[in-house]
């Protein structure tokens, strides 16, 4: 394998999360016992990438307190390690760029200083577990300038902002296509790519002055002159851009097959460890088909739910089809159905909260109900 360094874009400005991503970047959104960026970060680390730059947004407190110096991902080191990169203050909230070129231009020194041949770039609002070894091997086999990772979905994907690849029979990318209703099995670009470092530097130099330019815009212009290939990702990917995505993806991981692909292979997803005691199931606890993190006290009924760390569920409370983030306290006789509780929410005795699977009810951080 040839050497590579990583760049993670931790500053996408997705605005469909009903406030869950208001005070924190979506990349720092809790997902079970993880935060979303753990998946992208762990994938790079597990692939042997030892130098990773993380572009952080302006409201980066939760993100930085989560990753610290990168110890949980073995990135606290003398040679290489984790680099916290700032984003540019250029542009407006709500812009759609995924890999904003001006963000890269601002941190060009990070790219100039390292001698690695390739740069792996990924966004981190997705739930996945990929080993880039194979992608890098493929990239070298094809002698590609750029390799874009795509996922072939069986059913048309309704997400407008997804870019679809059009490839020739040799897997060379000949064009991009936006969402198309008629397309049966679209090849969705899943926001991971490998690019030769020198080519990336050239692109930055050439286009950094362009207004609102994304790396993908530059690649589109270069489709003919550069060798750009697509690599098909076979694993599970959950792309999170809305509350519905978030809810659906959380429910997906209750599926043992998906969980095995994500969590139980050789490459593990790492997260900040908290040294909680194990989870206590009380005398009358009834837990069915649920994922429960450590440090919880479960005395009520939990079904089809994902419970994060340090949650307390008192006797006779019912938590069904819910996502409960860490340190929530659910008092006795409460009934929650299709509800997403952000961190530190307290639900008072006997309350009933009800959403539905299309529109789960969202309760924001530190709310007391």
């Amino acid at each position: 394998m040839c050497e590579a360094i990583g760049i993670l874009f931790g500053n996408s400005r997705i605005d469909g999360l009903q406030g869950l991503a208001e005070k924190r970047p979506i990349e720092a959104l809790p997902f079970g016992r993880y935060r979303l960026l753990d998946f992208a970060l762990s994938s790079m680390v597990n692939s042997g990438i030892r130098t990773i730059g993380l572009i952080t947004p302006y409201h980066n407190r939760t993100m930085l307190s989560h990753i610290g110096a990168g110890k949980a991902w073995f990135l606290e080191r003398k040679a290489g390690g984790l680099f916290i990169l700032p984003e540019t203050i250029y542009g407006l909230v709500g812009r759609k760029e995924q890999f904003f070129l001006k963000d890269l231009a601002l941190n060009i020194e990070y790219l100039q200083r390292d001698q690695a041949e390739n740069v792996v770039i990924s966004s981190c609002n997705q739930v996945f577990n990929i080993n880039y070894h194979e992608v890098l091997d493929y990239h070298e086999d094809k002698n590609a300038d750029i390799t874009l990772v795509y996922k072939k979905f069986d059913t048309p994907n309704r997400k407008n902002s997804q870019t679809h690849l059009i490839m020739d029979e040799k897997q060379r990318v000949i064009n991009f296509n936006d969402y198309d209703e008629l397309e049966n099995s679209p090849l969705n670009f899943i926001n991971m790519l490998i690019i030769r470092r020198q080519i990336l530097l050239d692109i930055i130099n050439e286009y950094q002055e362009q207004e609102g330019f994304d790396l993908l815009d530059a690649i589109t212009i270069k489709l003919k002159s550069l060798k750009i290939y697509g690599y098909s990702f076979q694993g599970y990917i959950g792309i999170i851009q809305s509350v519905q995505d978030y809810y659906q993806c959380s429910m997906d991981i209750l599926d043992t097959k998906i969980r095995e692909k994500l969590f139980l292979g050789l490459d593990r997803i790492h997260t900040k460890l908290l040294d909680n005691p194990p989870t206590c199931h009380g005398e009358h606890a009834k837990v069915r088909n649920s994922l429960i993190a450590s440090g919880c006290m479960i005395e009520g009924k939990v079904e089809n739910s994902v419970i994060s760390r340090g949650v307390i569920i008192e006797p006779e409370a019912q938590v069904i089809n819910c996502i409960i983030m860490s340190k929530c306290w659910i008092r006795a006789q409460t009934i929650l159905n299709h509800v997403i509780l952000d961190k530190l929410v307290e639900v008072g005795e006997g309350r009933v909260l009800q959403g539905n699977s299309e529109n789960p009810m969202v309760v924001l951080k530190r709310a007391k109900i």
Partner: protein, 396 residues
């Protein structure tokens, strides 16, 4: 050079043979405890929470797992100035030998202690379950101008003869110390936690080394001798839970004691945590037909069967139709479909194949309260039947 007033020497070399199959391959302090922990986590976390940043860990018996578990101590924030040091027996310029006793182990590491120039040395044992703030004891030691302070706790009278027992004067000064007396005249037991003035301890260790009759043991030799020499020896009364996990029964009960100590406030309060070198495993998954009551379940577990009043360690698998009752399943063990497990302690990575019955009752009086113990890495074939109170060793 970093100097600290008090450094800790942690005795972790004992074999712990009374724990039978559990210590066949690993040192007692490294045995998994209450799912998430290993026994030594309690002492190391006490040191970390008491801001004692220099800890020498004296190892001897089967040290591999223990040493690799402790590593450089980052899990307890010891990767700092000072830090944790694993001290196995070693060669000196003229000779070297195994540690012949607790005092000898410290004697052989006088150089290590001198290097840090401490005023006090805290001696602790790696096989006790308790949470303490050693600073309170150091304050007590200083306030009484003691030369040696022994932490003591009340134990039931009938158990007192298993411990070093002290009798006190009114001012908490120790009048008499008897190691494992047949007829104890006090139920104040030494917890094996001592604070020594370093110059005094050094002197005593050197004298003890010359003594050919000595067992080189703190309880049997060093402390009685210091008392005899009229040194200022005080007892610090520790109020709180303390348990020595020397035998299977006490190991078993200590696990469930810790479990029952967990309550809302303990779960939500983050100070004075017990740190451990955790494996980063995904959340536990509880299946659609599972039933879990009154149990402690760790990360990485998959539970598809029924679990009552039990503790499941990290990454345990409980298959469909399995019934686990009153048991402690250590990390990464696998209990396959339709097996019945009663009052069992399994070692780590044990695999019990389907339709087995472990801990079946019989009419004879039960050994070790009927607790069945299975050595780590054991594979029990399909349909195995093991009677209650047995110790099961791996076939080699």
């Amino acid at each position: 050079m970093f100097e600290q007033e008090c450094i800790a020497m942690l005795l972790a070399g004992g074999q712990g043979s009374r724990l039978g199959p559990l210590t066949n391959n690993i040192a007692k302090p490294a045995i998994s405890f209450c799912g998430n922990y290993r026994i030594i986590d309690f002492c190391l976390s006490n040191c970390a929470n008491s801001k004692i940043n220099i800890v020498g860990v004296l190892t001897q018996y089967k040290p591999f797992l223990l040493s690799s578990y402790i590593g450089i101590g980052s899990a307890w924030d010891f990767d700092y100035v000072g830090g944790v040091h694993i001290l196995p027996p070693h060669l000196g310029s003229t000779e070297g030998s195994w540690y012949r006793g607790t005092a000898d182990a410290v004697y052989q590491n006088i150089d290590f202690i001198d290097f840090f120039k401490p005023s006090f040395v805290l001696i602790i044992s790696g096989d006790h379950i308790y949470q303490a703030d050693y600073n309170k004891m150091i304050d007590f030691h200083r306030r009484n101008k003691a030369q040696l302070t022994i932490s003591v706790t009340e134990v039931p009278w009938q158990e007192a003869s298993r411990f070093g027992v002290v009798t006190l004067d009114v001012d908490q000064r120790i009048r008499d110390f008897a190691e494992k007396p047949a007829y104890p005249n006090s139920n104040l037991a030494s917890m094996g936690v001592y604070i020594f003035d370093w110059p005094l301890l050094k002197q005593a260790l050197m004298e003890d080394e010359e003594d050919l009759q000595s067992n080189h043991d703190f309880g049997k030799d060093i402390i009685p001798k210091l008392l005899q020499q009229k040194n200022r020896v005080y007892a610090y009364k520790f109020r709180g839970y303390w348990r020595d996990v020397g035998i299977i029964e006490s190991y078993y009960h200590a696990n469930f004691d810790y479990f029952s100590s967990l309550n809302y406030s303990r779960m939500t309060n983050q100070d004075r945590r017990i740190f451990s070198n955790l494996e980063d495993l995904p959340s536990q998954y509880v299946g659609s037909s599972a039933l879990i009551e009154n149990s402690l379940i760790c990360n990485g577990c998959t539970v598809l069967g029924s679990v009552y009043h039990s503790i499941l360690g990290l990454g345990v698998y409980i298959g469909k139709g399995v019934e686990v009752r009153d048991s402690i399943i250590l990390p990464h063990s696998k209990i396959n479909d339709h097996s019945v497990i009663r009052k069992v302690v399994t070692g780590e990575n044990v695999e019990i194949e389907s339709h087995s019955v472990i801990g079946a009752t019989k009419n004879e009086p039960l050994k070790q309260e009927g607790i069945t113990v299975i050595e780590d890495q054991t594979v029990l074939k399909e349909g195995s039947k093991i009677e209650a109170g047995e110790n099961v060793y791996r076939v080699r």
